[in-house]
């Protein structure tokens, strides 16, 4: 069955956000960057609106051909990821439109803030994905690393099937463009293989 959940995070992985901005582990951000980072972090956390929708599906595989229970797809990389699985959990999640509002604003008045909000927002939605996967793990048992459209040879157009089967737009408000872009932009869909006991 389809479940819709909401969440709230108190923080995000700052190292991950810095990585999106080109920093390596050993690079220490300058003081002015650090304060910009903190400011943007606060703004992003304040506007977060975490939502997710998920459901489980039976999985049948034949070589690289996969019957995901809601769509058939040919993908070597996904087949590899799902080796040995007989079920998957499909989820879509978003960190909310507030971050896009901030981006629209800072894109016009402060490119530096726009870049940092972008990175922090990405780190936040990653954190949200981790939380969803942990929840899936509690409900369904051990899982494989999540796998999204566009990874390896998994076609982006599979997004359309995902949106249809989970009623993503109706349930959590993410919209899909003709070119399969999601808005709010800080959104993720992924397939999580459930490891057979």
């Amino acid at each position: 069955m389809i479940k819709v959940i909401r969440g709230r995070l108190d923080g995000f992985d700052g190292q991950e956000a810095l990585r999106y901005l080109g920093y390596c582990k050993r690079d220490i951000p300058a003081d002015n960057v650090r304060s910009l980072f903190e400011e943007c972090g606060r703004e992003v956390l304040a506007v977060q609106d975490l939502r997710a929708v998920y459901s489980d599906f039976p999985l049948a595989t034949e070589g690289d051909g996969l019957d995901l229970g809601f769509a058939r797809v040919k993908s070597h990389s996904l087949a590899l990821n799902l080796t040995g699985c007989k079920r998957t959990v499909l989820f879509a999640c978003t960190a909310g439109a507030g971050i896009d509002r901030l981006l629209a604003k800072y894109n016009r008045i402060s490119p530096a803030k726009a870049a940092v909000v972008q990175a922090v927002g990405a780190a936040l939605v990653e954190g949200w994905c981790d939380e969803i996967c942990a929840r899936i793990e509690r409900e369904y048992g051990a899982v494989k690393p999540r796998f999204s459209c566009g990874y390896g040879d998994l076609p982006l157009t599979l997004q359309r099937d995902i949106f249809a089967v989970l009623s993503v737009t109706k349930n959590i408000g993410i919209t899909l463009s003709d070119d399969c872009f999601m808005t709010p932009t800080k959104s993720v869909t992924a397939i999580v293989g459930v490891i057979e006991k």
Binding site: M1, I2, K3, V4, R6, L21, G22, Y23, D27, P29, A30, N32, V33, L36, F37, V47, D49, S55, F70, A71, G96, A97, G98, D100, R101, L103, A104, K105, N107, R108, I109, S110, P111, A112, A114, A115, V116, Q118, G150, L156, D161, A164, V165, S167, T169, K170, G173, T175, L176, S177, D178, D179, C180, F181, T183, P184, T185
Partner: protein, 796 residues
């Protein structure tokens, strides 16, 4: 058959419950669009509707929630008419039974958050409405909307296609906001402004969870309220999906909301005919609360509503070219960023509403006003005042405005009322009414009040209520007429207290021709506030005005414990008033323009540039200070000792310095000849990378034409030709849009073979760039600057 509007005026109307979950029970597989079943399983669809009518519903929503042109294309008419037919077949034999055309979100997000243009959204909804009306729907039910802007598009579509009753309902979360951040009050303001017949909330929450939002809606709505909640949360029991609230519990919770005043009640996800039966049983005998006109005066943005009342509303006047040289120049040069900065600064300084006036003889006012309104709304969520004397500009701006605008202005002239009132009736709005007419401004208060009465009478004829009118009794220069202030205040007092309408003044006119105008302005402002001034157009940068306002609130008991006053007072030092936001002392460390730019200190960089310009030629400031600073940071970036945020902070500081320089630079002084057009290619809406490139290129003195995102190949060619650019920069983030990048390059090669093309973006690399025929792959913004620099050298 009875009329829906008649039934609504005196009764509680029972809506239906869920459709999707019911169809799934009768076999609709997941992933199949429920609307398809109107064609293939019409009996099943009709059976669901009939069960709701049997349970006692007055209205069923046809199975058209997702029926739009984007999903069904040319089959739309067929699908909608089949859906309406299913519902019509079900209603035969029932009394007071209505079929609504159900309209859900179109599935795409509107600009500025998404890529869908407002007018395109209107068009999508119009197609559905047209099909529904042709098929015989009795009313239009717009529901499960997440974005007030999309709701506005749908309502306008319905109003322009038919005169059927319109119900409009949105989804609110536990945080009492819609997904795009609208408060219940902002939603009510917008929906009422558009003149819907009923408004409310559906989906997402249980009745009990909805209560706070329903209460907020009921408090401010003068329109019947819809409540259509979910049956709690879905749970899995023995492999089946069940909802957490039983029909009895649902009905019990709904009874409480109905007693509070909900007038259209039903269920959303998880509810069944059984829930509707229980709902009817639980609410039997509840007397419908009469619909009262709350008499509120309210403007709104896409997130918040601002009511006129005890706390006077401050309208920031900075976006109005009258007497502002720099803004005039910005408008003429299409420099929207300057306008946006004014919007953000005024917001930070405490304005409640922003005036937007772009009336200059040499510009195309309708298109510039529309653009300014849209762009300001992307960076600022204050309500806006649409300020124009051009009815065409006014209509275009009101149409795209996301919220209920303050409209400036109408006056007692027949022609003025005839052009403004119909627009306000159609789009909603609060109107600033100037107390003048064909004979000019009456010298006495009595004459101005008479005009106010005339305006009220006339507005009523258009269906515009008193609450929508705010009167400006016209403060004229006291230096020319000693009684100017007295008469304006007398008229103001009378209109506020005898006619019961709100008032507004453009305060600063009063001091025209006098020295130290702020002294006069702020005292006049205080006088007007004590006489009942509801709103003032003011300069948020004027400390005298802010001081008066804060003090007034404290003295009038409108500032609890004088907390806001104390807060304000501690931000200013006695006698000397510091600039809001503070200014760091530029001499305390390091110093020099290069230093400030490298450190990314915007204000300091601007101040230092201004100081330098006192004794240094503008070009010298660029070449000896700005460029070396950018080079230092740029090299650090290339060597990976400086990272993107620092690079951009420096770029912003350089931009500030550059603005100072530009003000003194002759156009012929601009040393760089290379002009660059930049675009994120068609299909792609990611533009951060492209914006960074634009910022850096302009910093280095190149002329940049930023064409935006999702730009078609033809448009790139057209702009490149029009501006005579030598370089086109294209950006794409996704593999799917590299195709449009290739098409753009191909078209450029045919049309403008001499133009160079560089490309960048996450999915590109050297090889890929070569394959699609680009001249250069630029891995980042600095690489683009270097490439433009190479081309520049080639020219000289």
């Amino acid at each position: 058959m009875a009329d829906f509007r008649d039934l609504l005026s005196n009764n509680i109307i029972v809506l239906d419950g869920a459709m999707g979950t019911q169809l799934q029970k009768s076999g609709l597989p997941l992933g199949v669009m429920p609307e398809e079943w109107c064609l293939t399983h019409s009996e099943d669809v009709t059976a669901v509707h009939r069960a709701y009518f049997q349970a006692g519903s007055n209205v069923v929503l046809a199975n058209t929630f997702g029926a739009n042109f984007l999903k069904f294309g040319d089959r739309l008419g067929e699908v909608v008419s089949a859906a309406i037919r299913c519902a019509k077949n079900a209603c035969s034999g029932f009394k007071d039974a209505f079929v609504a055309l159900d309209i859900g979100p179109c599935g795409k997000l509107l600009k500025p958050l998404g890529g869908l243009d407002f007018e395109d959204a209107v068009d999508i909804f119009k197609r559905t409405v047209r099909a529904g009306v042709a098929a015989g729907a009795d009313l239009i039910f717009i529901e499960t909307m997440n974005d007030v802007y999309e709701l506005k598009a749908a309502v306008i579509a319905a109003k322009e296609e038919c005169s059927l009753p319109i119900c409009a309902s949105m989804v609110f979360g536990n945080d009492q906001k819609t997904m795009t951040g609208a408060s219940p009050e902002a939603f009510v303001a917008l929906a009422e402004g558009l003149g819907v017949d009923a408004l409310g909330i559906n989906c997402s929450l249980s009745p009990a969870e909805m209560t706070p939002v329903v209460e907020r809606i009921l408090k401010v709505s003068s329109t019947p309220v819809i409540v259509k909640p979910n049956a709690g949360l879905p749970e899995e029991v023995d492999g089946k999906t069940v909802y957490s609230l039983s029909a009895a519990d649902f009905a019990e919770q709904m009874r409480a909301l109905t007693e509070k005043g909900a007038r259209l009640i039903g269920g959303c996800c998880g509810t069944t005919p059984r829930y509707i039966e229980e709902l009817i049983a639980a609410t039997r005998g509840i007397q419908p609360k009469p619909i009262e006109n709350k008499g509120l005066t309210c403007v709104s943005s896409y997130t918040q509503a601002r009511y006129f009342g005890n706390i006077p509303v401050l309208i920031g006047e900075r976006i109005n070219p009258t007497g502002k040289k720099r803004l005039k120049q910005a408008l003429k040069e299409n420099d929207i960023d300057y306008v946006l900065n004014e919007a953000v600064t005024q917001t930070e300084r405490g304005a409640h509403v922003l005036d937007v006036n772009v009336g200059l003889p040499e510009i195309d006012e309708p298109s510039v006003l529309k653009r300014c309104i849209t762009e300001i709304q992307a960076v600022c969520d204050l309500p806006l005042q649409i300020d124009t004397s051009d009815p065409v500009a006014m209509e275009r701006a009101m149409r795209v405005y996301n919220g209920v605008p303050l409209v400036n202005s109408v006056n007692g002239k027949r022609e003025s009322m005839r052009s403004v009132f119909p627009l306000v009736k159609k789009y909603g709005g609060v109107i600033i009414c100037l107390t003048l007419d064909e004979k000019g401004i009456p010298p006495t208060a009595k004459g101005r009040v008479a005009i106010a009465k005339k305006i009220i009478r006339n507005a009523e004829k258009y269906g515009i209520v008193r609450g929508q009118l705010v009167f400006d009794t016209l403060a004229m220069a006291v230096s020319a007429d000693g009684s100017a202030a007295v008469e304006a205040l007398e008229a103001l007092d009378c209109i506020r207290h005898k006619l019961g309408c709100h008032t507004s003044l453009g305060v600063s006119n009063i001091s025209f021709g006098l020295p130290q105008r702020d002294f006069i302005n702020s005292t006049f402002f205080a006088m007007a506030l004590t006489r009942g001034l509801s709103a003032a157009i003011y300069n948020p940068n004027s400390q005298e005005m802010v001081k008066t306002y804060k003090s007034f609130l404290a003295l009038s008991g409108l500032d609890e414990n004088c907390a806001a006053y104390v807060d304000y007072a501690s931000s200013v030092t006695a006698g000397a008033i510091t600039e809001v936001g503070g200014r760091a002392d530029s001499a305390n460390e390091g110093g020099g323009l290069t230093y400030f730019i490298v450190k990314g200190l915007k204000k300091e960089a601007a101040a230092e540039a201004a100081r330098l310009l006192g004794n240094t030629a503008p070009l010298e400031v660029i070449n000896a200070h700005i460029i070396p600073a950018l080079d230092e940071v740029g090299k650090g970036f290339e060597n990976k000792t400086v990272f993107l945020p620092q690079l951009l902070m420096s770029a912003e500081a350089a931009s500030e310095a550059f603005k100072e320089v530009k003000a003194r630079l002759n156009p012929s002084d601009n040393a760089k000849k290379i002009k660059v057009a930049l675009a994120t290619v068609k299909g792609d809406i990611h533009d951060i990378g492209k914006n960074i490139v634009a910022t850096l290129l302009s910093n280095y003195g190149f002329t940049v034409y930023d064409l935006g995102r999702d730009v078609a190949p033809e448009r790139v060619v057209e702009a490149a030709r029009e501006h005579g650019v030598q370089l086109v920069g294209l950006s794409a983030l996704m593999t799917t849009t590299v195709v449009s990048m290739r098409q753009t390059i191909e078209l450029l090669r045919v049309e403008l073979p001499h133009v160079k093309v560089c490309v960048g973006g996450a999915v590109l690399n050297e090889e890929y760039a070569r394959t699609i025929g680009a001249d250069r792959y630029c891995k980042d913004a600095m690489a683009t600057v270097r490439y433009a620099g190479e081309l520049e050298e080639g020219l000289s």
